[in-house]
């Protein structure tokens, strides 16, 4: 276990996919609630970071900050070197579309689109990308073991299969960062383990991953666990998981 300070040391300058600097976010629900209270955190390229903490600790808010869905009241957020605070709403949308991949607890697939169409949905909003979508979807779905389910609609798929489609969707734009919010929260233990194997593969392929979870055994798949309490980083726990050889250099 190490302290907050050692994280800063471990980050090589200019090599972070995401960098949070003293981020504060306050909600006013009758009285002010400090969802994030001065959080500084770097996600180095190729790192796999888990965030744990009790409910109300600011996990979701941190996730939204890194995911460019929310902006801080104070402090800075940089994604791929770009200052998110300075971007307009549609610029942040485009940044999400090109640099980020989201994986949710509820899978969040579009119910009326097929698996293949769901996978390529981010490309629909990105006119710049001109690829054979069908081929791209087929490649990605095969990679998550659903090569034969291209034209199935989400309601025809099991929970684990849906989450695999969601993972394929998160990868379709070759993102700099994959964000996962309780990716196994709606799955049974066996299926959850299969999904975590996929995360291990992503990590091995040098993807940068940020995962929020409240389950210790899930968090242990990461290289390090950030413990959040009351909107502050209480501790950053380094895990010496030998399985993850493709982690940060």
């Amino acid at each position: 276990m190490t302290s907050t300070g050692s994280v800063v040391e471990s980050v090589e300058a200019g090599n972070a996919t995401v960098s949070l600097g003293n981020v504060r976010r306050t909600y006013y629900l009758g009285e002010p609630v400090h969802a994030l209270d001065g959080v500084s955190l770097d996600l180095p390229d190729g790192s796999f970071t888990a965030v744990m903490g009790p409910s109300g600790s600011g996990k979701s808010t941190l996730m939204n900050m890194v995911g460019c869905l929310d902006t801080p009241d104070e402090g800075t957020v940089h994604v791929e070197g770009r200052n998110v605070t300075a971007l307009s709403g549609s610029e942040r949308a485009q940044l999400r579309g090109t640099e980020l991949g989201f994986i949710f607890q509820q899978f969040n697939l579009m119910p009326r689109l097929t698996a293949a169409e769901n996978v390529t949905l981010p490309l629909v909003f990105n006119d710049a990308v001109d690829v054979d979508r069908r081929e791209r979807a087929e490649t990605l779905l095969s990679r998550v073991g659903l090569g034969d389910r291209l034209d199935h609609a989400p309601p025809e798929l099991s929970g684990g299969q849906r989450q695999r489609v969601a993972i394929a969707r998160a990868l379709v734009n070759e993102p700099s960062l994959v964000l996962a919010d309780e990716p196994t929260g709606n799955l049974d233990t066996g299926t959850g383990a299969e999904i975590m194997d996929l995360f291990a593969e992503l990590h091995a392929a040098s993807r940068t991953i940020l995962m929020v979870t409240h389950e210790r055994h899930i968090a242990e798949h990461a290289e390090r666990i950030v413990h959040l309490v009351d909107g502050q980083i209480q501790e950053i726990e380094q895990l010496d998981s030998g399985a993850h050889t493709g982690g940060s250099q």
Binding site: F102, Q106, L113, N126
Partner: protein
């Protein structure tokens, strides 16, 4: 985001709720359909009148009469007073381009009797000059004497047993005595002027006509409510019309006899058709406008269902925003969806409207006229209704907060 993409995704949303989408478009179908039906009926009615007027008027001519000055709204009523004197008739006849002038005076008929069979009212007898009937005679000859009558073809079966040349008929006029006439000829329908609501059954000599007026010169002359002025040929019809109007408005007795708010008119058949067309057009647009109210109801239906749709798909909107959809992408998606609903409604409405319109005119026996303008207008309105009713829901969708939306159950 490409528009074709939004069509694909929106179409999926529409077909995903077939019943709901169907009922929503039904509002537009009924709106556009009823407008089209009235346009078809109005167009057919107009065409029918135009044909009837043309059928009775194969010779170039015009109808001279008096109207109230334009009141600024619609058409001005006809004046029943008699201003055109025998001197006017003579003067008009002397115009080079005019072939003949036939004064026309109509007597409403109370009863017609032949061989013990009677027919009561509902038609008129017209006193005029024999020239006017030349060319229209299909049997016998035009009248030469005061007690001779020429019947129209329709009038031959007014009484049981029918009427034919050589028959004697006794006609009693409204508010006047009765006279006996000998049928000397049959004519096909001829120009009867534009303001005759009752059909003309026959024509008699002007010698039966005795209404006089004191002319500006102080003489007593016969005066007529309307004149039929025939042109030498259709080539000089325009010239004849100008000459006639010029005389009427300057030197004529009628110009001095009429009151200030009266206007003397010389209408050709085309003018009359135009005038009828204008009246029918106004009526059609008025009724069509009332039918158009259902379009407003239809568009409220679309707006309503789109708002429901946005609320239902809040989570989907959140997902789309998370994966890179901008506000304008979301607006585009929902606008395309409501435009599709509006456009489909309008297209089906046009088909339904044409179908019912065709059915209607077929039953009545009018000619079918395709209201091309209105079909285009209807489709345009359908798309516009789609845009308008989609604007607010789309805007609501666009401002959905993705963080809230993704938490939405």
């Amino acid at each position: 985001m490409k528009v074709t993409e939004s069509f694909r995704i929106s179409w999926r949303a529409i077909t995903g709720h077939k019943l709901r989408s169907g009922l929503t478009t039904l509002g537009i179908i009924i709106g556009v359909g009823s407008v089209i039906v009235f346009m078809v009926l109005g167009g057919a009615f107009e065409q029918n009148i135009a044909q009837e007027i043309e059928e009775g008027n194969d010779e170039p001519g015009m109808w001279v009469h008096t109207q109230q000055a334009d009141s600024g709204f619609g058409d001005s009523p006809f004046v029943r007073a008699k201003f055109f004197t025998d001197s006017d008739v003579a003067a008009l006849e002397s115009i080079d381009t005019v072939e003949f002038v036939a004064p026309s005076a109509r007597f409403p008929v109370a009863q017609l009797t032949h061989d013990g069979h009677q027919r009561t009212g509902g038609f008129a007898v017209e006193a005029t000059t024999p020239e006017r009937l030349e060319g229209d005679v299909v049997e016998g000859d035009t009248f030469a004497a005061e007690d001779e009558i020429v019947l129209t073809e329709e009038a031959t079966d007014l009484v049981e047993g029918g009427l034919s040349v050589g028959d004697e008929v006794e006609i009693s006029f409204d508010g006047a005595g009765s006279e006996t006439f000998t049928v000397v000829g049959i004519v096909e329908p001829t120009s009867t002027g534009g303001n005759s609501l009752v059909p003309t059954a026959g024509y008699v000599s002007l010698s039966n006509y005795e209404t006089t007026i004191e002319t500006p010169d102080g003489n007593q002359e016969r005066a007529y409510r309307e004149l039929i002025v025939a042109a030498e040929s259709s080539e000089v019809l325009d010239q004849a019309q100008q000459d006639t109007l010029k005389y009427l408005r300057s030197d004529s007795d009628a110009a001095q006899l009429k009151e200030d708010e009266h206007v003397l008119k010389a209408q050709t058949v085309d003018d009359a058709i135009d005038q009828v067309g204008d009246i029918v057009d106004q009526l059609t647009v008025f009724i069509g406008g009332i039918a158009g109210i259902s379009l407003v109801v239809g568009s409220i239906g679309i707006a309503n269902i789109m708002i429901v749709s946005v609320t239902e798909r809040t989570r989907d909107i959140g997902v789309m925003k998370a994966v890179g959809a901008r506000k304008r992408d979301v607006i585009q998606l929902f606008l395309v969806e409501s435009v599709i609903l509006g456009a489909i409604g309008a297209l089906l409405g046009v088909l339904v409207g044409l179908g019912f319109g065709y059915l209607g005119v077929s039953v009545i026996g009018w000619p079918m006229v395709l209201p091309t303008d209105w079909i285009l207008i209807a489709v345009f309105i359908g798309v516009t209704v789609g845009v308008l009713s989609g604007l607010y829901p789309a805007w609501r969708g666009a401002k959905v907060d993705p963080i809230e939306a993704l938490r939405h159950e």
